[in-house]
């Protein structure tokens, strides 16, 4: 296992408001990191730092030892809770888009043999997420679960170094959510992915993750709630075999994380 992502004394501040403080951690290749914590504890900010949607106020985020630019790039794929897919493209078009961008800088479209090759690759990816039968369907005609499957396929076709999931199953009903757990768990194993997933559902975090990060504030000033930022208060590495035992006893009473 080699270190893929590293946070070195990372702070995020918006004016007087401190969101994250002193985040120091390293994520290895192949880990499935679940990030939990109450609302406003900086889980999403943490994810946005990795994504490159924003940069740290202090400190560094390194990918393969190189500081990240505050800009998205194809080595980090993402699935958001909503709006992850393009409504004006079919399922196939959505997955093709990433391949087209790489191969056709000017038109962002492929023709002839190159298109057939890319199409086969995209179709195979859709098959892998269970959408092999709906290649020509627009997202508006899909259920929420199908849209998230499509979003996963769209991200994976670029073979990202890290896959970021921002509450990806939060808007799905429980049955569909279980199917999605199965899918993401399987893809993680098959493609040897590194995944960072933000979730509100602590069971989901322990079920899927090989490591659970709990974000919360260590210090709290009741007169100035924004004075102190959150950080990773618990960092639990789970052995795949003992994971079924569920959350360790010391975590739950100390950190009652709402599961909603």
């Amino acid at each position: 296992m080699t270190t893929l992502l590293e946070f070195r004394d990372v702070w995020v501040e918006y004016g007087d408001k401190v969101v994250l403080e002193r985040v120091n951690l390293a994520i290895d290749t192949g880990e499935f990191v679940s990030v939990v914590g109450p609302s406003g504890a900086g889980k999403s900010t943490f994810l946005r730092l990795i994504l490159g949607q924003e940069g740290p106020s202090r400190g560094q985020v390194l990918l393969d030892g190189i500081p990240l630019q505050p800009e998205c790039s194809p080595d980090r794929g993402v699935v958001f809770q909503r709006y992850s897919v393009f409504p004006h493209l079919t399922a196939l078009g959505n997955v093709l888009f990433g391949l087209e961008c790489a191969q056709a800088p000017l038109t962002a479209r492929l023709f002839g043999g190159a298109r057939r090759k890319a199409r086969d690759e995209a179709a195979a990816m859709l098959e892998a997420v269970g959408l092999g039968h709906s290649l020509d369907v627009y997202p508006a005609q899909m259920s929420g679960g199908m849209q998230q499957r499509l979003a996963v396929a769209q991200a994976l076709v670029k073979h990202p170094r890290v896959l970021l999931l921002d509450e990806p199953f939060g808007a799905l009903d429980p049955g569909i959510r279980l199917d999605m757990h199965e899918l993401v768990g399987r893809l993680w194993l098959e493609h040897r992915l590194t995944v960072v997933m933000v979730t509100h559902d602590i069971n989901e975090a322990f079920k899927l993750g090989t490591r659970v990060l709990a974000f919360d504030k260590r210090r709290h000033d009741p007169h100035a709630p924004n004075r102190y930022g959150a950080t990773a208060t618990y960092d639990v590495k789970l052995d795949r075999k003992t994971k079924a035992a569920g959350p360790p006893a010391e975590l739950l009473p100390a950190e009652p994380v709402p599961a909603a």
């Binding site: 998205c72 980090r76 004006h88 962002a108 508006a140």
Partner: protein, 271 residues
């Protein structure tokens, strides 16, 4: 049953919609008949027959002075001006609106200018256009384009910048450059909105066309209406107004059909 819960079926709904129109027509027929009985030369409320005769003359007979069928000459002249003006507005909206919506730097640079131009009443600029571009076609076309483009640009820029930021982020994680995400993410989603705002702008576009034609022209639908007004020729004005309305309805319908056919995903009926 409560009034709000009574929903007419498709057949009865069309019928119910026809009733007020029929009532309006009958009222008009009664009053125009009464006036025609009192004065056969009445000009203010011509009978349907008189209007049909005037329309027939204008739409079928060649005017010996110009050598053309008056109504068709007026229609082609007006539609040509309208088409070019609206076309210029649409193309500039597409380019400027998307640039404003996608690129924050462009928004910072050009946003205030567009806002200032948008608050200028276009008719107030008409004299400037006449002075700068002369009384020919250019000034009329320019009035239409200047009249509707700022609204359309602001509408499109607002729509594009309001697209979920997740889409732009996702496109970047898929390797899209600024140009690629403009071309493949912003542009296709902007097009149906552009057609929507074009449909809404067609009303003002007609207003500007008719205003320009009324002031300085020698052919055109607006010119004709304002010309025959001097002779109180309601028998020509009313059919012309009806004809303009019909053209407007047809344009609207054509635009809607284009949008439905070309962008099925935007109309909720999928493929």
């Amino acid at each position: 049953m409560r009034l709000v819960n009574i929903k007419p079926a498709r057949g009865p709904r069309v019928l119910i919609g026809m009733v007020p129109i029929a009532i309006a027509l009958v009222i008009y027929a009664v009053f125009s008949a009464a006036r025609a009985e009192a004065n056969p030369n009445d000009k203010v409320l011509p009978t349907f027959l008189a209007m049909a005769q005037a329309a027939w003359r204008l739409f079928t007979q060649v005017d010996p002075r110009t050598g053309e069928v008056t109504a068709w000459a007026d229609t082609t002249a007006s539609l040509w001006r309208l088409g070019i003006g609206v076309g210029i507005a649409t193309v500039s909206t597409l380019i400027i609106g998307i640039a404003l919506g996608v690129v924050p730097l462009v928004r910072a640079a050009l946003g205030p200018l567009v806002t200032v131009i948008a608050v200028i009443p276009p008719i107030a600029v008409l004299p400037i256009l006449f002075i700068a571009l002369g009384l020919g076609e250019a000034s009329k076309i320019a009035l239409i384009a200047i009249g509707i483009a700022p609204y359309m640009i602001r509408d499109l820029a607002g729509y594009v910048s309001g697209l979920p930021s997740e889409q732009f982020l996702k496109a970047q994680t898929l390797g899209a450059s600024t140009w690629q995400l403009t071309l493949r993410v912003a542009l296709p989603q902007a097009l149906p909105r552009l057609i929507d705002s074009l449909r809404l702008s067609m009303g003002p576009a007609w207003v500007f066309l008719i205003s320009a034609e009324a002031i300085a022209s020698d052919v055109g639908l607006g010119y004709r209406i304002f010309l025959v007004r001097r002779y109180l020729s309601m028998d020509i004005i009313l059919p012309y107004v009806a004809w303009i309305s019909l053209l407007a309805i047809l344009t609207d319908w054509v635009l809607l059909m284009i949008s439905r056919k070309a962008f099925p995903w935007a109309h909720g009926d999928g493929r």
